[in-house]
């Protein structure tokens, strides 16, 4: 048994993932050893085909490794069945996707409530927690609106509120700024940085170095193995960048 530090949220030992496509075996991951401690803000980078989606699926408990062990919050995930994985996802993981993935027919409140609907635990002050989560991303005035009435950045903020509502161990963001313009993307990064300052563990999957530099640590993935990792020496502050970045409408006004 591997010795696990109390502060360790994620620990993987020699994780591999082999896909079978017909008779061909494709190794997407070839032995990943990773440890992420509580409160860290980590970026996983890598070109397409590097296995970062596969790794993200495993870290997010959407998939299980072919071999190796994965501990999330001291729970061995590797051997769980579909329903147990669903329970872990519900409790321990908050997802933020590139394409937002909100329920289009449900209003903002309903979307943020969704993880609680599938939660086994009886939570007190359910409504309060939902409203708090929505308030933390600054959308309190929009709770009755549908996602289609929101801008891309606002949608992503709803997704973050949804990820927060069950108080997960990790927030897993897969290219969260990929569908947003740079200013809106920076605003999303600002929220992540604030959440991290409040102690949330955030794992960010991205292929943009500028985005990755907002985190503490960058893990480079290539051909299914960790190619290297480095501490970010000069962390970018979304707050500062936003201050210097003129608003789009301001620029338009200047040009007239």
């Amino acid at each position: 048994m591997t010795e696990i530090n109390q502060d360790t949220v994620i620990k993987t030992t020699d994780i591999t993932k082999i896909y079978r496509i017909g008779n061909i075996k494709v190794s997407a991951l070839r032995g990943i050893n990773l440890e992420i401690t509580r409160g860290e803000f980590v970026a996983i980078m890598g070109p397409s085909g590097s296995g970062k989606s596969t790794l993200m699926n495993i870290i997010g408990c959407l998939d299980t490794p072919t071999s190796g062990q994965y501990f999330l919050n001291n729970i061995d995930i590797s051997k769980l069945n579909d329903n147990e994985l669903a329970g872990i996802r519900n409790k321990e993981v908050g997802f933020v996707f590139q394409t937002f993935n909100l329920l289009s027919r449900t209003n903002i409140y309903g979307n943020v409530e969704l993880p609680m609907i599938y939660s086994k635990d009886r939570v007190a002050n359910k409504k309060r927690r939902i409203l708090d989560a929505i308030e933390s991303v600054g959308l309190s005035d929009w709770i009755k609106h549908r996602p289609s009435e929101l801008s891309g950045g606002e949608k992503q903020r709803v997704a973050i509120a949804r990820a927060l509502v069950n108080g997960p161990s990790i927030i897993l963001a897969d290219e969260p700024t990929g569908n947003l313009d740079s200013r809106t993307g920076e605003e999303i990064m600002l929220i992540f940085q604030k959440l991290n300052n409040e102690g949330k563990t955030i794992i960010l999957v991205t292929h943009e170095l500028d985005i990755a530099k907002h985190t503490h640590k960058i893990i480079y993935l290539r051909d299914g193995i960790i190619h290297g990792q480095e501490e970010v020496k000069k962390q970018l502050s979304a707050e500062e960048i936003l201050r210097e970045m003129p608003r789009l409408e301001d620029r338009l006004v200047e040009n007239i």
């Binding site: 579909d82 409790k91 909100l102 969704l114």
Partner: protein, 410 residues
């Protein structure tokens, strides 16, 4: 419970989003349930009114007719009977009246059809000839005047009691009591009129007849020495079977039928007739309802079809829900609830549709309908089962989706 309500809310939301599609899908169930319930209510109504009209003839009646209905299908026996000219005569009636202990009264019946004349009006009507006991046996009531008496019967008097339709056709507003009418050219004095009895289940006018003493009909009009049938009334409903058997044995003895030979007459009672009618209408109802339930099946297939489409359309939603922590069972229940909501809503609309149809039918046609709770309960549970049965496969497909693939689905 909370989650079930949530699922029902989601289901209605999904159904309202595609109103036309949901309605068209439900139409199969609406028509199916509507047809089944309407058919069952028509069947129940028909049965009730047939039973009422059989009971309306009189109560606890035993009907004795010449010839054996059991052998009518046997060609040889039929020729034999035709050759023998089997008849029921006055001595048979006397034998029954003397011997039977379980009957209150018995009366002969001769029926025919004759031309009836009064001044310039004429009509063709039924003639029911009986004895003075016929009034009660036939459940008739005198409106004005009186029924013919025992002495009228023994004297073969030319007296007549007439029904309302005959009065309307011949007399109009004139009081018919004491007037002389001609039946097949013979003069008869009208001594009484009968209360109206309306039409029976088959739409026959039950007031279009004239009743005269049986002896008069036999001797003066039709030249008969026999009766068409003999009616008897048992002392109570419970003993009607025994009374029938008693009459049967009296007549066997009286007519000299040896042991082992079959009767040349038949004895039937109202209970048997009602049983036969119930059996026939039940078979009719079940067959029609069975045919109607095929459309319920087709409706169910429609539900399955649309649920499969719905699952495909909402693959991404399923992916989101699963990523966020929905278990396979949660997705299964969500889609199952949706198909059941679809079919139960259809079922309820179908029942309303059936109620509308049967109200219209009983108000605007001769058909009587009777909506009972049983077919409604059956139809509702049937449509629930249809929703469950045809919803389970699409729901299982939804539940089994891999969340990674489902999230990537465009």
């Amino acid at each position: 419970m909370k989650r079930l309500l949530e699922n029902i809310r989601i289901a209605f939301q999904a159904l309202f989003l595609n109103k036309l599609r949901s309605f068209l899908t439900m139409l199969g169930i609406i028509i199916g349930v509507g047809a089944v319930v309407a058919m069952l209510s028509i069947g129940a109504g028909a049965q009730q009114s047939v039973i009422q009209s059989v009971q309306g003839i009189g109560s606890n009646l035993i009907i004795i007719t010449p010839g054996n209905s059991g052998e009518e299908n046997n060609l040889g026996a039929r020729f034999m009977l035709a050759g023998q000219q089997v008849k029921l005569k006055a001595d048979d009636l006397q034998a029954i009246e003397r011997g039977a202990t379980l009957i209150t009264k018995a009366a002969p019946v001769v029926f025919n059809s004759s031309i009836i004349l009064y001044s310039n009006s004429s009509t063709q009507s039924s003639i029911y000839a009986s004895s003075e006991k016929g009034l009660e046996l036939y459940n008739m009531d005198i409106e004005k005047g009186k029924f013919y008496s025992k002495s009228d019967v023994s004297n073969a008097s030319n007296v007549a009691v007439i029904g309302q339709t005959v009065i309307n056709k011949l007399f109009g507003k004139i009081d018919p009591i004491g007037k002389i009418i001609k039946i097949d050219g013979k003069n008869f004095k009208v001594i009484g009129t009968l209360e109206t009895r309306g039409t029976d289940t088959f739409g026959n006018d039950q007031d279009d007849f004239v009743s005269i003493p049986v002896t008069t009909a036999q001797n003066k009009l039709y030249g008969l020495d026999s009766y068409n049938m003999i009616l008897a009334q048992s002392t109570s409903e419970e003993v009607i079977g025994e009374a029938s058997e008693e009459i049967e044995s009296i007549l066997r003895r009286h007519r000299g039928i040896r042991f082992g030979e079959s009767e040349d007459f038949s004895v039937r009672n109202q209970t048997q007739i009602l049983d036969v009618i119930s059996t026939i209408t039940n078979i009719f109802t079940v067959v029609i309802a069975g045919i109607a339930s095929i459309s319920l099946l087709v409706g169910g297939i429609g539900i399955m079809n649309i649920m499969l489409v719905s699952v495909t359309e909402r693959t991404r939603e399923i992916g989101i829900r699963k990523a966020i922590g929905a278990k396979n069972r949660d997705i299964l229940i969500q889609f199952l609830v949706e198909s059941i909501v679809l079919s139960i809503t259809g079922g309820i609309l179908g029942i309303l549709f059936a109620i509308l149809i049967s109200v219209l039918l009983s108000n605007y046609t001769v058909l009587d309908t009777s909506i009972t709770t049983l077919p409604i309960i059956i139809a509702l549970s049937f449509s629930t089962v249809v929703g469950l049965f045809f919803g389970i496969y699409p729901a299982m497909r939804a539940a089994r989706l891999n969340p990674i693939d489902a999230l990537r689905y465009e």
